[in-house]
């Protein structure tokens, strides 16, 4: 029980509509911190959020918040505020009344309600919007109103479910910064849901990756990008290069090239991000470029060495054309040996646990002592 003041979910089992989505899931958010729950659509992120919020009944498990157990409480008694993907503003109320909704419920007097609602709007950058109707607002403005409303509730936990998904890229950027700033200023324990790994990296002090109803890695953002615990994690975070082979004497032989691989001997997988693959003048790793696609920030190269495939992101100025022969270098400090061993097929759910049952799975999420953990 580390998170005395934060959120602690233990062994949650949830089956909305009779379909088991979460089976024995555990998750912790330290007080005053921001955790992003990331994962592909259908992984069960929203189900988890709804379960924590009390919108979805638990079949098993516990939820603790600020040291008290809340899973038996009705949703409105949990002191949690949620900002949903759609703003869900009440159409019959104006901006100010929407923001002041929870204050009204708490019996706050009209004058104070108004002042606090205006302050809340100010905080989200909507000073002067108090008298507006909700209909004419843009998507971003509506989402800010929803955020101000959630903040006014002064919750113990703020949850945001894909709050940026419906916005255009520029607005998304602004709102992302706003959320981070407000959270930090208020020191709010916050759980944010997204399916976008870049967003997760930017927003999360900690990121939890959820795949098929299980949290497979919970760590600082960089760890998920660079030190994935499994092929599936690696794949989700865009690690295109998974090099399978057998380790002997600290080296893994891949496509005829010996790559440094610490740890015991045996079958292993090395991971390296495409942006860490470098072009070199000379070296053992010669390959033929089969694709060179300009993406704006870089050129994405696909290079083949025999039937082994490597992906590299290189600066446009340096990029060779398709068909060229190149020498690639995989810097040793960028190579990451995936923990476990048998993960050579990596079809999403393979995380090394042969009989992956609910209880054991929590090990990867709740236990920071996993081999991937830098600490």
């Amino acid at each position: 029980m580390t998170a005395e003041g934060g959120l602690l979910c233990r062994s949650l089992t949830v089956s909305p509509g009779g379909v088991g989505v979460l089976r024995g899931l555990s998750l912790e958010v330290a007080p005053g911190t921001r955790t992003v729950l990331v994962g592909p659509s259908g992984a069960g992120k929203t189900t988890l959020l709804r379960a924590i919020a009390g919108l979805e009944p638990l079949e098993g498990g516990e939820v603790h918040l600020v040291g008290r157990r809340i899973d038996g409480l009705a949703a409105h008694r949990r002191r949690i505020a949620v900002v949903f993907q759609e703003p869900r503003l009440l159409p019959h109320l104006g901006v100010e009344d929407n923001v002041a909704l929870t204050l009204r419920a708490a019996g706050v007097g009209r004058g104070e309600r108004r002042a606090r609602a205006r302050a809340g709007l100010e905080e989200v950058g909507l000073g002067g919007f108090a008298g507006r109707r909700t209909q004419g607002l843009s998507g971003g403005e509506q989402q800010r109103v929803a955020l101000a409303r959630a903040l006014c509730a002064e919750p113990d936990l703020l949850m945001l479910d894909e709050p940026l998904a419906a916005l255009d890229p520029n607005r998304r950027e602004e709102l992302r910064r706003l959320i981070a700033r407000v959270q930090a200023q208020r020191g709010l324990t916050t759980l944010i849901i997204t399916h976008d790994r870049a967003e997760a990296a930017e927003l999360g002090e900690r990121v939890a990756l959820m795949l098929d109803g299980r949290i497979v890695q919970h760590d600082e953002p960089r760890a998920l990008f660079e030190r994935p615990v499994s092929a599936a994690v690696a794949r989700f975070f865009g690690v295109a290069n998974l090099l399978h082979g057998t380790v002997r004497d600290g080296h893994l032989s891949w496509a005829g090239v010996a790559l440094p691989a610490p740890g015991p001997d045996g079958p292993a997988t090395l991971a390296i991000r495409p942006d860490h693959v470098e072009l070199a003048q000379e070296g053992p790793l010669r390959a033929t470029v089969t694709e060179a696609v300009y993406t704006g920030a870089h050129v994405r190269l696909v290079a083949l060495r025999g039937d082994h495939r490597l992906e590299a992101h290189v600066a446009p100025a340096l990029a060779p054309p398709a068909g060229a022969e190149v020498t690639l270098e995989l810097p040793a400090q960028r190579l990451w040996r995936l923990p476990g061993d048998s993960d050579s097929d990596g079809d999403g759910d393979g995380d090394g646990d042969g009989d992956g049952d609910g209880d054991e799975l929590s090990e990867a999420s709740g236990a920071p002592s996993s081999p991937a953990d830098p600490r």
């Binding site: 089992t13 089956s15 009779g18 088991g20 009944p57 079949e59 159409p91």
Partner: protein, 279 residues
């Protein structure tokens, strides 16, 4: 594991149960009573045994067959015409205020029989139209084809359908229409892709209600329908005109058969609408 889910399903059923059971008890009992009336006549020595005589008499009566055909024709015509008129009227009234909508809704609280009275005052022989025009070119009241019946129903039922559609058109349609327009949908395509899916539900449900009503109501055909053939309902009405006891079985059988047809037509309509949805 699924105990929670199962208990939710029972809770949902429990929420539906009061409405369904109240109707099953009150209304089902009335229908069962009609069935009994059609089978068990009340005679000199009280209720005798059940007999199918009434049903045999009904099905063997050529006037009944004529009434069936005539009723179905009038029902289909009146329902289709009301629906066809209601769509453009609803579209036209979409952005109009309460005052104009209330004007258009005025026929709703007026009983059918009274609407028929107004129709006769206007259209009957020696009626106002006759006086204004100095003679009517066609007979719309008591015409053999039942055009008068159809007209009265169209007048009375169109506002009902319009109101149902206007409710569905409320918030949201405007936005979706604009979204479609921005995506390059022509007015025709917008009508087909945005408007039609919005109003189809209420239109189908409303048309079923209208159709069932037209099939089984006697007031309007009695007021403006031809002397022959009767509709199913006026056939039943006539059966109890002289002596109720002599005709109540026949009337009950006719109306039960009418109800069965109405249910069958409704199911067919729902099915047809659903198929069209899939296409």
């Amino acid at each position: 594991m699924s105990g929670l889910h199962a208990s939710r399903r029972w809770r949902d059923r429990a929420l539906v149960a009061p409405a369904v059971s109240v109707l099953a008890l009150l209304f089902g009992g009335a229908v069962a009573g009609m069935l009994k009336t059609s089978l068990v006549p009340l005679g000199a020595d009280g209720l005798s045994g059940a007999t199918l005589d009434t049903w045999r008499e009904l099905l063997g009566d050529p006037a009944f067959v004529d009434a069936l055909v005539f009723s179905l024709r009038v029902t289909v015509l009146a329902t289709a015409a009301s629906a066809a008129l209601a769509v453009p009227v609803a579209v036209a009234l979409r952005r109009r205020g309460l005052a104009i909508r209330s004007l258009a809704a005025l026929p709703l609280p007026v009983p059918h029989l009274l609407v028929a009275v107004a129709a006769v005052l206007w259209l009957g022989a020696g009626g106002l139209a006759d006086r204004l025009l100095g003679g009517l070119p066609v007979n719309l009241v008591r015409d053999d084809a039942g055009v008068g019946i159809v007209l009265v129903y169209v007048f009375r039922e169109t506002p009902f359908l319009v109101l149902l559609m206007l409710a569905a058109m409320g918030r949201g349609l405007q936005e979706r229409t604009e979204a479609a327009a921005v995506l390059g949908a022509s007015p025709g395509q917008r009508a087909l892709w945005v408007l039609w899916p919005t109003i189809r539900g209420p239109l189908v449900v409303g048309s079923i209600i209208v159709g069932a009503f037209v099939l089984g109501a006697f007031e309007v055909p009695l007021a403006v329908g031809p002397s022959y053939p009767p509709t199913l309902a006026t056939f039943a009405f006539d059966a109890t005109q002289g002596s109720v006891l002599a005709g109540e079985g026949l009337a009950a059988a006719t109306l039960l058969l009418t109800s069965t047809i109405a249910v069958a037509l409704a199911v067919a309509a729902v099915r047809f609408a659903r198929d069209a949805e899939g296409a």
